[in-house]
């Protein structure tokens, strides 16, 4: 049964106000198009998570869609601190979000615990740091410290995360949702596996037979997936290996715009609210930067190494 739907349908059917949402990606394959659709639909009060958040989370915070953020980090990479994140936490603009702070070890482990169906997982970091002195909306459940029943040494336990919905962008998936990636994984697989259901957005929908040619690349099986959206260029301004590069040009525009609330609002209007979907976004990109600018982002063609699973 095909689960292929439009982005509009996928988001309206599976992401509701107040939902706990995992958004995959690590500069590599962020689900940018899905995030833009969440903004267009005006979805509010979200709890969001991922290790190493970037401009996409900054934008969600800037439009006021986020209530709570289970965080490790948020920056604009080479363009420095997240402007909207700072405004939210320093000045309460548009409102002060609640942040529960972890690390790029503990948070992926919490997703792993969720993926394994375990209530918690021990983690070897955070001990001795002030991260253990601050607790936000998770209160006592942010972490517990015990002496290990096995060797008596102190150990930090962190709770499982089980998001209502996980949204990942991948290179290819079949219409049923078997999703394949290559390149940097971040916490994408554990995030998807931990989520109660998964929206897969992909550069291309391929046949089940194509999936079966290289099944080791599948990171989430179809039965976990609720919707599949074919959304070429869906990770831009992030990148997708084999498809297109990081767009530092638009990263710079976002930094400059988001220096002020007015600039940020104008950026969101131009690149999100005034565009009905990703096709319109690509058209707008070509109008702004020319077809050459668009072509320049595309990955060079490379004959793939033929992986054999023969026996």
């Amino acid at each position: 049964m095909s689960k292929v739907v439009s982005m509009k349908e996928a988001i309206s059917q599976h992401v509701s106000d107040g939902a706990f949402v995992y958004l995959g990606g690590y500069i590599c394959r962020p689900p940018s198009a899905a995030i833009h659709e969440i903004i267009r639909q005006g979805i509010k009060d979200l709890t969001v998570t991922r290790a190493n958040a970037a401009d996409d989370f900054d934008m969600l915070i800037g439009v006021g869609a986020v209530r709570r953020f289970i965080a490790t980090f948020l920056s604009l990479g080479v363009y420095g601190l997240g402007r909207c994140y700072r405004r939210s936490l320093e000045k309460g603009i548009p409102h002060k979000i609640e942040v529960e702070e972890y690390t790029n070890l503990s948070l992926p482990m919490m997703l792993l615990a969720g993926a394994m169906g375990m209530p918690f997982v021990p983690t070897a970091d955070m001990a001795g740091s002030d991260l253990l002195k601050i607790r936000s909306f998770m209160g006592e459940n942010k972490y517990r410290q015990i002496d290990s029943p096995f060797d008596g040494r102190p150990v930090v336990l962190v709770p499982a995360l089980t998001p209502d919905v996980g949204i990942i962008h991948v290179q290819q998936a079949d219409e049923d949702g078997n999703a394949q990636i290559w390149g940097i994984g971040g916490d994408c697989q554990v995030g998807a596996m931990a989520s109660k259901k998964v929206i897969v957005t992909c550069e291309r929908v391929v046949s089940r037979e194509t999936i079966g040619k290289d099944p080791s690349r599948t990171i989430v099986p179809a039965f976990k997936v609720a919707a599949v959206v074919e959304e070429p260029f869906g990770a831009h301004p992030g990148y997708t290996p084999g498809f297109y590069d990081v767009d530092f040009g638009i990263g710079y525009l976002y930094q400059q715009a988001s220096n002020t609330v007015e600039g940020f609002d104008a950026f969101v209007k131009e690149w999100v609210l005034d565009l009905p979907d990703r096709n319109a976004y690509i058209q707008h990109y070509i109008q702004r930067f020319g077809y050459q600018g668009f072509k320049k982002l595309h990955a060079k063609f490379d004959y793939g190494y033929p992986v054999s699973y023969a026996y």
Binding site: I27, C28, L81, R86, M126, G128, S129, W182, G185, V246
Partner: protein, 265 residues
């Protein structure tokens, strides 16, 4: 042929970092200085060192300097690519990483690093990105190398917030809270000096000063009573071979110059 004097401060700092890496070390690197330093080491005295990025990449062979730890250039040619659980949850957590490279907005005399907030946490004067991979790397890598700007704002007697533990509040503190024995900061490399940690007090002291800096100037720009190693001398400038590797192989366009704009002069 490189002229041995033909270098800028960030290149000297990258060479200082490179010299801390031993052959066969597994090094978890960020972007900028760390990646550059690890690459210099790999092209000179540590050809068997392996670089790892927290995003999931092992032994990347990038064709240009990576601009982030998730950079597309890290993918083609790598020996293995997984994700955060593979690198942080398995390799780092299980003790397989010898060297971690960190920088900090604020670093104190015990090598504690703050990348969370300047001022009070609840009402920050400046909200910083947060831990990311810094806390686990500083907690679990055998030797942590710290890069910092040398002034009285970036260096501190005590950081506003310990995002990443150095020696916390002195000898024995890491072990007491359960961090693995034999881990901790090894060095702070600044734009003025190389500082190391006194094993008795766990406090950073001046080991070498960069060629154009004086001990007085460095002490004046350090907010704690900086001890000076007996016989502390000038930092060895980049060798001709280190510069050749930097200028001809790793960074022909000298992208490392962006660190001059960030104050590393």
């Amino acid at each position: 042929m490189s002229d041995a004097k033909d270098y800028i401060k960030p290149e000297l700092m990258a060479c200082c970092g490179a010299r801390e890496i031993r052959d066969h070390d597994v090094v978890i690197v960020g972007t900028g200085f760390p990646a550059m330093a690890a690459n210099i080491a790999k092209h000179t005295h540590a050809p068997h060192a392996t670089m790892v990025q927290e995003s999931g990449v092992i032994d990347a062979r990038p064709l240009r300097p990576a601009l982030s730890v998730g950079d597309p250039c890290l993918n083609p040619g790598a020996a293995m690519i997984g994700g955060l659980v593979d690198v942080m949850g398995m390799l780092l957590q299980a003790g397989n990483i010898q060297v971690g490279f960190l920088s900090g907005s604020q670093v104190d005399k015990f090598g504690n690093i703050n990348t969370t907030a300047i001022g009070a946490y609840e009402a920050p004067k400046s909200r910083l990105p947060g831990s990311g991979g810094a806390n686990p790397i500083g907690s679990l890598a055998r030797r942590t190398l710290i890069i910092a700007l040398h002034d009285r704002r970036r260096l501190a007697e005590k950081v506003d917030f310990i995002t990443t533990p150095g020696y916390i509040d002195g000898p024995g503190a890491r072990e007491k809270c359960g961090l693995p024995a034999g881990t901790g900061p090894a060095v702070i490399i600044t734009n003025k000096a190389v500082m190391r940690f006194d094993p008795q007090t766990c406090e950073a002291y001046l080991a070498t000063f960069h060629p154009d800096c004086t001990i007085e100037e460095i002490r004046a720009n350090t907010p704690w009573d900086l001890k000076v190693a007996p016989g502390a001398g000038p930092t060895e400038p980049p060798t001709a071979e280190e510069l050749r590797v930097l200028h001809e192989i790793l960074d022909p366009h000298r992208m490392i110059r962006i660190y001059e704009q960030r104050g590393y002069v």
